[in-house]
């Protein structure tokens, strides 16, 4: 093991050799980079990523617990100073939620009546898996989180990840015990969404900023949106289920529609992974489904 120690430090020709190795490795990295530019993800690289996530998961898990504890402690100190304001805000919110609760109870009755009809077929339900955030890419351009649920809990690539406020992102790599969630703000993130009450469909494109933009897919007319309108997943492409809350329209800047996300990435500790399977379309049901869709998406004239 002498070669790793200091004994060979002064060795002749060592510098030249190390420069050669250095240049060689720079070449190798560049080739790796070019290959990832060329083909999105070779299976070998994917395996390596999943392996590293799995290997790092126990370390991250053990280290993230004290970090969460410490952040809670610091956050607790801040809360102590504005407890009165918080109390007031919570009381107001509580009153508002009570009204919503009453409305929801009414609606529950109505839905139960409809479900009692013979022709009713329940839509497939998502099978949720809860997980803690144990890691996060603190990178200027890569925005992702690592959560402690993987293939052993039937987590698969493409599944939607929601937090307590709204959509967080979707799974991109799954190890056996941990997976990576691509956040909506990552430059690779593309999520099909629609804007409520307008029937406008688009794709939410991440650009590393806190507010991603919507690229409208199907509309030849002038697009008019008002700040405050809700943005939900559209379910187009058959990956994420329809209707998950994403955020609200923030503003329109030089043709880009900015979305204020519901998810607060600095606060996201626990997430729910939705194991959602789209209903299989059988031949007989095609016409019915199409009718249903036409009713669901109102014409732009209405909004």
């Amino acid at each position: 093991m002498e070669f790793l120690g200091q004994d060979k430090r002064e060795g002749l020709g060592r510098r030249a050799n190390s420069r050669f190795v250095l240049l060689l490795l720079i070449l190798v990295s560049t080739l790796l980079l070019l290959s990832s530019l060329y083909s999105a993800e070779a299976s070998v690289f994917k395996k390596a990523r999943e392996g590293v996530i799995d290997a790092a998961a126990p370390v991250l898990q053990h280290l993230s617990a004290p970090i969460a504890w410490f952040n809670d402690l610091v956050g607790g100190v801040g809360d102590y100073f504005n407890v009165l304001e918080q109390n007031k805000a919570l009381r107001e919110e509580n009153a508002e939620l009570r009204q919503w609760m009453n409305e929801a109870l009414e609606l529950r009755k109505v839905v139960a009546a409809y479900e009692g009809l013979q022709s009713y077929q329940a839509p497939p339900e998502a099978d949720p898996v809860d997980a803690f955030v144990i890691g996060e890419a603190n990178d200027a351009f890569a925005r992702s989180m690592i959560v402690n649920a993987g293939r052993s809990k039937n987590v698969e690539s493409g599944q939607a990840v929601v937090g307590d406020k709204g959509l967080v992102g979707h799974i991109v790599h799954t190890g056996s015990k941990a997976s990576r969630v691509l956040l909506l703000t990552d430059i690779q993130s593309r999520v099909p969404v629609y804007i409520e009450d307008t029937g406008l469909e688009g794709i939410l494109v991440g650009n590393t900023r806190a507010r991603p933009v919507i690229a409208i897919t199907e509309s030849a007319d002038v697009i008019e949106v008002t700040p405050g309108q809700r943005v939900l997943t559209s379910g187009a492409g058959g990956v994420l289920p329809r209707g998950l809350p994403v955020g609200v329209i923030d503003s329109e800047k030089s043709g880009d529609i900015l979305v204020d996300l519901f998810a607060d990435y600095a606060e996201t500790r626990m997430v729910r992974i939705l194991n959602y399977e789209f209903p299989a379309v059988d031949e007989g049901a095609v016409t019915e489904t199409q009718d249903g869709e036409a009713e669901e998406a109102p014409a732009p004239a209405e909004g």
Binding site: M1, I67, E136, N138, H173
Partner: protein, 170 residues
């Protein structure tokens, strides 16, 4: 027994910079959320690579630098080879300027680190912009690099003490 323990110790000493680099990568993958997510996490591996490339490149062979970079790429989910290329390029440039840095004041070395960080940022931004097909916003990158430059004196001091007292003399 004594001989083996000594061997193990020297191995550990030789591997210390790499271990610190790996710890820096893990640091980058933790949900730290400093100051409720407002402060970016400094890129400690860049400090490790710069420091040992200036003062004792023989303690941080290019293979270790490559390993640290690839590990960071795999763990943070970025394009594979990007951070490896950035760290190796930093090492290459710093090692070619080594004779200039030797025996200089800490302030000068700090300035050198700031320049190296700027170079690394430019490289990162160019590659990521090229890959995403649009000029990306530089705000968060600049903030993270500024944080990295700010912590350099502290880490440089700690690494200096560690290197002098433990790795070389101890």
């Amino acid at each position: 027994m004594g001989y083996r323990a000594e061997n193990l110790l020297s191995l550990l000493k030789a591997a210390t910079p790499m271990i610190l680099g790996v710890l820096g990568v893990i640091f980058l993958a933790l949900p730290l959320r400093l100051f409720e997510g407002w402060a970016p996490t400094p890129i400690v591996p860049l400090v490790v690579v710069f420091f040992w490339s200036v003062y004792a490149p023989e303690f941080l062979p290019s293979v270790s630098v490559f390993f640290i970079g690839v590990l960071q790429d795999l763990l943070t989910g970025g394009p594979l080879g990007l951070w490896a290329a950035v760290y190796l390029a930093t090492q290459f440039i710093v090692m070619s300027q080594r004779s200039y840095f030797m025996g200089r004041e800490q302030k000068v070395v700090w300035l050198g680190f700031a320049l190296a960080t700027a170079g690394a940022s430019l490289m990162l931004w160019l590659v990521m912009s090229l890959m995403s097909g649009a000029l990306l916003p530089v705000g968060s990158l600049l903030a993270q690099m500024a944080a990295t430059v700010l912590i350099y004196p502290l880490f440089g001091m700690v690494f200096g003490q560690l290197h002098r007292r433990v790795l070389v003399e101890g």
